[in-house]
């Protein structure tokens, strides 16, 4: 699972288009699965969900998948079982008789995802696959992406949603002005700090000073307590200390904003997403 991150205009979508042969590079070369990028043969092993997925909206979802399957070189016999299974996978079976022009944006995204997977590609390029989806749709996309990993496919995920990338990807690369300026293995990535948002009552103020002496910054506004720990290992002890100090703890939520921090550090504070 590979996450491709960068601010708007960094060249993420253009890079994918070059790898798939939609855009010709002005210089340099790229290979995909050992073959020159964009070659017809290698595209047989690749699936693609474009950022702004549009298709012949006069088709039903099953017709659309059959068309894409045929274009991907699949036989009608193979598609007979494959299409219903895919519709089921992306949750569109109840809508199979609708025309695509009646679909919501989220449903369009789901059918787009299904067409990218119709021929079981070895590499799946997903350009902003969760944009426009509600939380249930995002979860479904995450599950589909995980299923691809389980069957051994590589997913190349281009997304603005760092939280999605952090949950889903093993590796990430950061792109800035058309150049890869950093990469990270998220499995071995140790966050520098963990922020905790807690809601507490009856907290003795002295505990803040005690925590500060341990190197843990803490601030209290009303019932909202913000803490910054060094690692997740410190969290149980931190909670015990709060309770020992007489606090009633209503919530204690660690927020791993580490990838976002890394992103901001690499890209610079002033570059918008």
């Amino acid at each position: 699972m590979f996450g491709f991150l960068g601010p708007n205009g960094a060249g993420k979508s253009t890079s994918i288009k070059m790898l798939l042969g939609l855009v010709k590079p002005t210089g340099g070369q790229a290979t995909l699965l050992g073959s020159p990028a964009g070659e017809v043969g290698v595209r047989r092993r690749v699936g693609f969900l474009p950022e702004h997925f549009r298709f012949y909206d006069w088709l039903t979802p099953a017709e659309l998948l059959r068309l894409h399957g045929r274009l991907a070189g699949m036989s009608p016999a193979r598609l007979k079982d494959r299409v219903p299974a895919l519709l089921d996978l992306v949750g569109l079976t109840p809508h199979r008789d609708k025309r695509v022009h009646d679909f919501s944006k989220g449903m369009m995204q789901r059918i787009g995802l299904a067409q990218a997977l119709v021929h079981d590609p070895e590499v799946v390029f997903l350009d902003e696959p969760t944009s426009g989806l509600d939380p249930l749709g995002r979860r479904l996309v995450r599950d589909v992406i995980r299923a691809q990993r389980e069957r051994g496919a590589t997913v190349f995920l281009n997304s603005h949603l760092l939280s999605e990338v952090e949950i889903t990807c093993d590796h990430v690369a950061f792109l800035k002005d058309g150049e890869v300026v950093g990469s990270e293995n998220l499995e071995s990535f140790a966050p520098a700090e963990i922020r905790v948002a807690a809601r507490v009552r009856n907290l003795a103020p002295e505990i803040l000073a005690t925590l500060a002496r341990q190197g843990i910054s803490a601030s209290l506004e009303g019932e909202q307590l913000s803490l910054t720990a060094h690692s997740s290992e410190e969290l149980p002890d931190l909670l015990r200390q709060l309770m020992a100090a007489g606090a009633d703890v209503y919530s204690f939520v660690p927020a791993r904003a580490s990838l976002e921090d890394l992103f901001v550090r690499i890209m610079g504070e002033d570059r918008g997403l």
Partner: protein
């Protein structure tokens, strides 16, 4: 393989979007109108007791005018229906999920071209063939070399289709349509310039007409078809859309076919090379 899938989807799109049925209805409407007009004309000719020879000439001229309308209608239909197929899909991004499938880009363009060619063949067969059948059935008048004439009209439509698609690989839908219709208008004007030369036997007007036919040979194909289909008397008139003033030669038809192939090659090359 990709060619046939794309041809099929192009044909199905026209059918699903009711384009095919609208064209079919328009064709049937045209045939009905022609039949009614022919009926009235025959009644008037009968009332005036016109001599059979003259009666045949009048009805033949009417048939040729109807076929001229068929020709214009078919060319305009061709341009209007096909103008959005390439630039529209590029502008909307629809092409992205298609062009990344494992098939060379030329198959997308050729597939669409084939799909439209089949639809146009159907439209020409219905309107051109229908007009000939209606005329024969109602008054026994047939154009000379009707099949050759029909095939030439189809060739003219294929030329308009290819030129429209070629510009579609460069420009937006609107710009491509304006250029394609503008070029056909230029050819149309060139044809009339040659016909007008019948008044003054102006070699310069004929030369001007030939130059415009070289720029866009669509109208010269029609004029050749009209020459092949008309009666000798109609052709002898000095000023009509079908006058035998400057008849496009077989070489000009060959040039039109060559023009079509070059336009198709240019369209394929540019579509292959451009970014999507």
């Amino acid at each position: 393989m990709g060619c046939w899938v794309m041809a099929g989807v192009t044909f199905r799109e026209a059918s699903r979007k009711k384009l095919l049925w609208t064209a079919l209805l328009a064709g049937i409407g045209f045939l009905a109108l022609f039949g009614i007009a022919l009926h009235f004309q025959m009644q008037d000719l009968d009332r005036r007791a016109i001599a059979p020879f003259l009666r045949y000439q009048v009805l033949s001229a009417m048939l040729l005018i109807a076929l001229y309308v068929v020709d214009l209608l078919a060319v305009v239909m061709t341009i209007l229906t096909s103008v959005d197929t390439i630039p529209g899909e590029i502008a909307s991004g629809t092409i992205h999920a298609i062009a990344t499938k494992p098939m060379p880009r030329w198959q997308i363009l050729i597939g669409k071209w084939l799909g439209f060619a089949v639809m146009i063949a159907g439209f020409v067969a219905l309107t051109f063939g229908g007009t000939v059948v209606v005329a024969y059935g109602m008054c026994g008048v047939t154009p000379a070399h009707a099949l050759r004439g029909g095939l030439l009209v189809f060739l003219e439509c294929l030329l308009a289709l290819t030129v429209t698609m070629m510009f579609g690989t460069w420009f937006s839908t609107l710009a491509s349509g304006v250029i394609a219709i503008g070029l056909h208008g230029l050819a149309f004007m060139g044809g009339w310039l040659e016909q007008m030369s019948g008044f003054t036997s102006s070699a310069r007007l004929i030369d001007l007409g030939i130059v415009t036919s070289l720029i866009m040979p669509s109208e010269s194909i029609w004029r050749r078809a009209a020459f092949d289909m008309q009666t000798p008397l109609a052709g002898a008139l000095p000023f009509s859309p079908f006058a035998n003033v400057s008849i496009p030669s077989g070489t000009m038809i060959g040039y039109a076919a060559f023009y079509l192939l070059v336009a198709l090659a240019v369209a394929l090359y540019h579509f292959h090379e451009r970014d999507l």
